[in-house]
């Protein structure tokens, strides 16, 4: 006997955001690092900072740290990020 059943997933999901345009070069750019603030992030992001400056000639590296590593970044950080050429986030546990 045929049985009719329903889709349990969120079918209304739509991707409305486009990825930001990719940079051709990091030379002379401003890069922001958004840390989740966990114990291991200090050394990790210090290393990333050094790599960006020495290997990729990044002009400025700005480190911002979320107050709650399980929650989204605060509005102030998001506002700051508008002045950056590139942001690196989602790393550092």
């Amino acid at each position: 006997m045929t049985i009719r059943v329903l889709n349990p997933t969120n079918e209304s999901l739509v991707v409305t955001l486009e990825p930001a345009p990719r940079l051709q070069s990091l030379r002379g750019k401003t890069v922001g690092l958004i840390s989740n603030g966990k114990e291991g992030t200090a050394g990790f992001f210090a290393h990333v900072d050094r790599l960006l400056r020495e290997r990729y000639q990044v002009a400025e590296v700005i480190l911002r740290t979320k107050s709650n590593y399980s929650a989204p970044a605060e509005d102030e950080i998001i506002d700051d990020a508008k002045n950056w050429d590139l942001a690196i986030t989602g790393l550092g546990d």
Binding site: V5, L6, P8
Partner: protein, 357 residues
């Protein structure tokens, strides 16, 4: 298909094929599901007087809306009857409050599960037991309500392992984690009452919770000594897992409750005692291999509870045995327990959602 429902549907040859169809798409927790037919889903919606497209809430971080139809589909799959659905709806509403931080709790490597605690008349209406094996599969009602929450997270919010769920270990409570309080056999106000829900109302409390840690002390009748064992387990959790203060649940079965009652101790006395006793100094980390992060804060004292009100004391468990359990919070106060009345508008005035810690 019932015209009121909006979900995509599939016509499948038999119920055995339904199982494989759902498993193959990652829409289950690995166990068989009840086929979510339009009739069964509509029956759940009719029970709560909700149209299919009613928004239960929006997950605040990823801004994902959860509507009544999708929640009902997952509830049916979990084995819920219509009478179980109000508890599922209320639990989800509570989980979607900002202070619960649902996304963080479900995405964390920490691997907590959503503990649902039932209070009020609904417990008896749906046959939720609160005595034997209360932290296991004690009865149909609590098993299916807890499972409905997990399936809803998997299917509606993509909280499947390796997707949003990044748990390193997880714990068995992720299969189903729902208990009911034994209000009839305790001498203190119910958990919901203590969190400002009227005694006559049914309610759910949700907590982003680690696995239970069982204790035993059947060699004393003194409240202080019994609670010293609970406090020691809380301190062990603070040293070994997370030192941060938050909502700890304490599940106290009848034997320990009887000793509390005989000594005239109620909810407040128990909470105040644990608030004083469940404390560690940061220097204690050196005894469990965490000395490297003590730094110059060795003398700093940490309490398991930000205040006595943060204790979620639940009367539950079988009638015999000097056992009990603490259920630690996921991570301090990053996620806070939320209590809501079942069937009440959580955004209406006066607020039905508890503002208590």
């Amino acid at each position: 298909m019932t015209s009121a429902l909006n979900s995509q549907y599939f016509d499948i040859d038999d119920s055995g094929d339904v199982q494989e169809f759902y498993h193959s798409r990652g829409w289950t927790d690995g166990f068989p599901i009840v086929p979510p037919t339009p009739e069964a889903v509509q029956a759940c919606l009719d029970w709560v007087l909700m149209p299919a497209n009613e928004i239960i809430g929006i997950e605040p971080v990823r801004e994902r809306a959860i509507d009544a139809e999708k929640l009902a589909i997952n509830a049916v799959m979990a084995g819920c009857l219509p009478m179980h659905f109000p508890a599922v709806v209320s639990a989800m509403m509570a989980m979607l409050k900002d202070e619960f931080l649902l996304h963080g709790t479900t995405a964390s490597t920490g691997g907590c599960a959503i503990l649902v605690i039932l209070n009020g008349p609904i417990r008896q209406e749906i046959g939720a037991r609160s005595d034997f094996n209360v932290l296991g599969s004690s009865d149909r009602a609590t098993s299916v309500i807890g499972r409905a929450i997990r399936l809803a997270l998997i299917n509606i919010l993509q909280v499947s392992p390796g997707a949003i769920d990044r748990s390193t270990l997880g714990h068995p409570g992720k299969i189903s984690y729902c208990i009911a309080e034994d209000e009839e056999n305790s001498n203190w106000p119910s958990l919901a009452e203590s969190r400002d829900i009227p005694k006559e109302a049914s309610a759910v409390t949700v907590l982003a919770a680690c696995a239970p840690r069982q204790i035993m002390n059947e060699w004393t009748t003194k409240p202080e000594e019994i609670l010293d064992t609970y406090a020691a387990e809380m301190r062990a959790n603070m040293r070994n897992y997370s030192i941060w203060a938050g909502n700890y649940a304490v599940v106290m079965p009848a034997q320990h409750r009887e000793h509390m009652r005989a000594a005239g101790w109620g909810r407040n006395e128990i909470a105040n005692y644990l608030f004083e006793k469940a404390r560690v100094k940061r220097s204690e980390w050196s005894t469990v291999g965490k000395g490297s992060v003590i730094r110059d804060k060795g003398d700093t004292e940490y309490c398991a509870l930000p205040s006595p009100d943060h204790l979620l004391l639940v009367a539950a468990g079988g009638p015999a045995g000097g056992f009990g359990a603490i259920i630690p919070p996921w991570l301090g106060t990053k996620s806070q327990a939320v209590t809501v009345a079942i069937g009440a508008c959580v955004d209406c005035e006066p607020a039905a959602a508890s503002q208590k810690k």
